[in-house]
Subunit: 713 residues, 2 copies
């Protein structure tokens, strides 16, 4: 356990300890002492004595080998001190010091030196440019944040130090406990994935909450997040939704799979629940710190006023929760003691004159209803209402097996009650919508865990890997990175992705002969590696049936193309049997700079970017993942049979997606693919237009198999 | 001014005054006294003396005519007491008593009696079943809510008494002032519209905030809301989004224009800004109570930490705000005093060590930038940060011309600073996203006001009103409420909505002759008032070109229909020239039970309910409203020319919508209309299929012109 000495140290040295109250070194020392740290604490600094302890000039002078050194000295001294730490047998470092990134080249050099030192001496390091870490259970406040939170199960990781201080401040006031609190800083050594791995093995950690702005090692992140989330929830806020627009791309897929959409797909795939705001993140912390995780999405709302009940219901529906249907026995029991005017359904309106006992009896009844997975209790300060008595009762009768959240609405009138709730570990929310929203996020965990545990089903289909490889080699040999349509379709056919009745012809006679072979009517398209937009140069003719039509079309195309694009190399024409179809889909792939290839599926055609009825998944795609990829679109409803119209062969489509994913997995040199449209009829799917672009930087490069994927099959 | 004596009474009687502390009568008396009411206050009750005042047994015994009587006695005595009030010359009533709606028939009867009494004596009444009203400026707390808020500009109206108490409690703690605070109760006399009208004329009212669950008089609501909102903002929370699913309807339009979608369209049309949650409503109150309204949507964010800046930007983009571009002179000025490491763009990151003076200088610079319409100042508690000093400075240098919102993040560490901000009328928000969201709502007011002031442009087109009237009469005479497709198309043609090359034929020969007249290829469809789904009975044949094809089609249709629907009356067949088209649109109308006819436009075809790319508007529709109706859909991008494809005749489409609206306005007996698809080519629009259903209850009824519309032309 590399991180054990860092997070649960037996001894801690503070390098840069000082008695100047405004210094970070002072703050860390002071926090360690105030936090009640029970291990050995050693100040390292210029004074002979600090805080009534012997102060060491160098870490090497300390009589024992210390587990953790917290470094708070000017940046330029840090690399040297790291070496001293290594030599002194220190096991973990926290570098609070900032000024590395800002120092440009010099800073980068220092970072590399520090990384090398950490590796050499087998030390793990957090930072630089961070607030530090807190382990409340063991009284470790190795940070310059003065608030020591309570001990609890939530592990918090933040890329923003500023957010850490705000969250700590809220936590202290709302009795939210943490197992670990980590300001991760520039994360040049320890990153999110390392922490996921460490936290996964620590039974004290019941969930992870995090704020992130960027991810460095996508592969590790995805791997470790999946492991953790299969067991315990990860809730995160990712900032920068709008900061990076989808860059100009050659393909539709490129623009559909914009930066933030890919993040969403990645988080979804690795089971991270992404929230929308700081409020949401905090509210989830609040619930996770105090309540069990609901087993399903059916919520019961108890309220003493109609309005908040209606509003809560609206919110529940919008977060895809379900208003629990009260079971018959619950109804009978409630009828037994509630006023005859109660709502007789969920939300359970216990009316304005509800006493503490009314609330309590109602809660006790609904919480044992097997059709209810969680309860939100709403209280508005009305004339007869005793916010304190209700709060006391709820706390005294707890803890509850299922999550119970509260919303005592108002301020002064409910303040005392709220305090009792918070101290009693029943989270209170300013408004019932916030309670419902938090429930909505957390209720997703059981499904996520099940999904992450499933064993992907692949297909046992023969593919012509060598043939596909040769196709790529041929394109490369021709000095190109872009496939012609013919080559693209051939490529797909090697992976069993259906194309139909296609032939090349380089003379008029050949065109007639081939057309008759594949059957009319045919489409004729110019075949040239230099022409991307065939229609623009008069390079496409449709509905050709007779020999005469075919001959004329051939001549017209050649004349027009030669006139409009004289420099283009002409490989002849592509002939295809015209097919009728019901719908147009798109299957595409693009390489995300961070997450590697991502696969897009959805409604295709020219309006693909307008309607954006598409969904994104990461390879490898098994049959179950293909199902989810399809079902994340509206067009899936059409494909599965809509309003009495017949269904298409969705099983066949799933297989195509699995095969498509296999192709992407087999060839790291593929950069972008657009199959648009994939023509869909009730019987079959056909690639009607195909675009494949290779990644210049990967051509001819030997890389380990699947190394371009963030998820290993 | 009917409401003047009710809201600004010179004398108040409390009927049901009591010295029992738990009684409502006591609470109202006590609140009036504590509130510092300067007028004459008269207890009416059983005691000879109450609160050291003479107590009257009957209202009629009071020596002067009182302006306002607050009634807090058991329901059964209320009707009688209302009469006594009327006879005593009381001008306004507030009935706090509940138990009318719950008392069933008896309760309804009492309500009718009270309404009659109010009319007879020309009294305005608020309630029953309400909390009362508060006018803080004049010390009138005629309610049993014990909190007296500060005086301010916001008028608050709530249908939920429980929400009133919560909001009052927040308001007291955050120094949010109100002009009037109204718990509207069952609103059997005074409703929202009455208050809009009264508040519009009161310069002390600067905005209206409201919570509503239902609207009774839609016409009055829309009229008065439009008047108010053209001048000052109305912000509302409407509960019950999910409570009413779209009921089963005969048409697509019926299911697209579900209850909540119509509310959205109505609020939009009358300039009400609808928020999403209690938090939002409260946050808007907070801004409106303290800040000027922004003139546009360009926001500047000042922050001492990067993370919250990024998160705020994400939120701003999602609420359709703009991150203001800092002008050159602003950049120069900021460079003059900020650390060289500042962000050099908006969000203006003044860095973690920013002092009060740094914050203040930055705010002073950006607030005078003409490219900036508002500022959100974010502070996170960092080591060098002084939350109190920054707050003090901001308050001391205020008030500001443009809205300034704050987010001091955290709790204990920023508490003192937050208090100073709130006292200094700079609203503080728990998180920066909440500040940005509130800005996002309020920034919409200038556009709304401009839209409400615009003069609608109608068309000067001749319509065949009499012809249309006759068509309806013929359908009715035939004992039907549903038009055949032919009749529907004829109806549209009377209003200049384009149909094309259509003919009826009732024999084979006639079919051939008519087809040749309109030009082939044609579509042939069975014409029967009893067949709604023509395809199902083999009643449609397409692409008929030759005489032989036409004859065969006629025979096939007749055979099939007679076999499958032997009882159907057959009017022959409908022949139409087949047209090619690019897109399918829908134009529809349905009668909302509350808001009357609403008009739907958007992407049509069979997937109309799947993609729901539609928008809703209320008649009358002028050219500008038609523009907005179109632009609220994605398909408008196609129609206006997408990705190099030519544009369609959008001007022509606007005219069709205006004419369609005219038809709906002219015929209150029309209940549902679906034009789906409206075929769209680059040159023209054509009604391809048409459905018209009449409203049984309106047939043959003489109603005043336009009385079925909530907006009068």
């Amino acid at each position: 356990m590399q991180f054990e000495p860092l997070f649960n140290p037996k001894s801690v040295a503070v390098i840069g300890a000082s008695d100047r109250k405004e210094s970070v070194g002072y703050a860390v020392m002071n926090n360690m002492i105030k936090g009640g740290y029970k291990g050995h604490l050693y100040p390292v600094g210029r004074k002979p004595e600090l805080f009534g302890m012997k102060c060491y000039a160098k870490i090497g002078q300390i009589e024992e080998k210390v587990d953790l050194a917290v470094i708070a000295i000017p940046a330029k001294f840090v690399p040297g001190v790291c070496i001293e730490c290594g030599e002194a047998g220190v096991k973990g470092l926290i570098i609070i010091t900032a000024g590395f990134a800002e120092a440009g080249e010099e800073g980068k050099k220092m970072c590399i030196e520090i990384q090398a030192t950490c590796q050499k001496y087998n030390m793990r390091m957090i930072g630089p440019n961070c607030l530090g870490i807190i382990n409340p259970r063991d009284g470790v406040n190795a940070s310059f944040a003065s608030v020591m939170p309570e001990a609890g199960g939530v592990a918090f990781i933040s890329q923003s130090g500023a957010l850490c201080t705000a969250i700590l401040d809220w936590a202290a006031n709302q009795h939210v406990g943490f197992s670990y609190f980590v300001s991760i800083g520039s994360s040049i050594d320890t990153d999110y994935a390392d922490l996921f791995e460490f936290f996964a093995k620590d039974p004290k950690v019941t969930s992870i909450l995090m704020y992130i702005e960027s991810i460095k090692d996508a592969k590790k992140f995805v791997l470790r997040a999946r492991e953790f989330a299969a067991d315990k929830p990860i809730i995160l806020l990712k900032a920068g939704k709008s900061s990076e627009g989808a860059a100009a791309a050659m393909s539709h897929t490129g623009s559909l799979a914009g930066n933030d959409a890919v993040y969403d797909a990645v988080f979804d795939r690795c089971g991270c629940i992404r929230v929308d705001s700081i409020c949401d993140l905090w509210d989830c912390a609040h619930v996770l710190a105090t309540q069990n995780i609901p087993q399903n999405n059916r919520l019961c709302i108890i309220t003493n006023a109609g309005g908040p009940g209606v509003i809560s219901t609206d919110r529940l529906v919008s977060v895809h929760g379900h208003l629990a249907k009260l079971s018959e026995s619950t109804m009978t029991e409630l009828n037994g003691f509630l006023s005859p005017f109660w709502s007789h359904s969920n939300p359970v309106d216990v009316l304005g004159d509800a006493t503490a006992s009314t609330y309590q009896k109602t809660l006790d009844v609904v919480i044992k209803d097997p059709q209810i997975d969680g309860v939100v209790v709403v209280l508005t300060p009305q004339a007869m209402t005793d916010p304190v008595a209700v709060a006391k009762s709820l706390v005294e009768h707890g803890p509850y097996q299922k999550p119970v959240l509260a919303s005592w609405m108002g301020q002064s009138e409910v303040e005392a009650g709220v305090k009792i709730l918070e101290q009693g570990k029943i989270p209170n929310f300013e408004t019932p919508e916030r309670a419902v929203t938090a429930f909505g996020y957390i209720m997703r965990h059981p499904d996520i865990a099940a999904k992450l545990k499933e064993i992907p089903k692949y297909l046992d289909v023969q593919v012509d890997y060598e043939g596909a490889k040769k196709l790529i080699a041929d394109v490369v040999a021709d000095g190109r990175t872009t496939f012609t349509e013919y080559e693209g379709k051939m490529m797909f056919s090697k992976y069993g992705i259906p194309i139909k009745g296609m032939a090349k012809a380089s003379t008029e006679d050949e065109a007639v002969a081939e057309a008759m072979k594949i059957g009319t009517p045919v489409v004729m398209k110019i075949l040239s590696p230099d022409i991307m937009h065939k229609t623009d140069v008069g390079g496409v003719k449709v509905k050709l049936t007779t020999e005469e039509e075919i001959r004329k079309a051939y001549r017209d195309i050649m004349t027009s193309v030669k006139e409009k694009k004289p420099e283009a190399r002409i490989h002849g024409v592509l002939l295809e049997k015209m097919v009728g179809f019901k719908y147009e889909c798109i299957i595409g792939c693009k390489k995300d700079p961070l997450f590697g290839p991502v696969i897009v599926f959805g409604m295709g055609g020219v309006t693909v970017e307008l309607y954006k009825d598409t969904n994104i998944a990461l390879p490898p795609i098994g049959l179950q993942e293909a199902d989810r990829l399809i079902d994340g679109t509206k067009i899936s409803k059409l494909l599965r049979g809509y309003r009495g119209m017949p269904a298409c062969d969705v099983e066949g489509l799933k297989k195509i997606l699995v095969q498509f994913s296999k192709m992407i997995m087999d060839f790291p040199e593929i950069s972008e693919v657009d199959i648009n449209p994939l023509a869909v009829s009730y019987e079959e799917f056909l690639v009607l237009d195909a675009k494949i672009v290779l990644d210049k930087n990967m051509i001819g490069k030997e890389v380990p198999k699947y190394s371009h994927l963030v998820i290993q099959p």
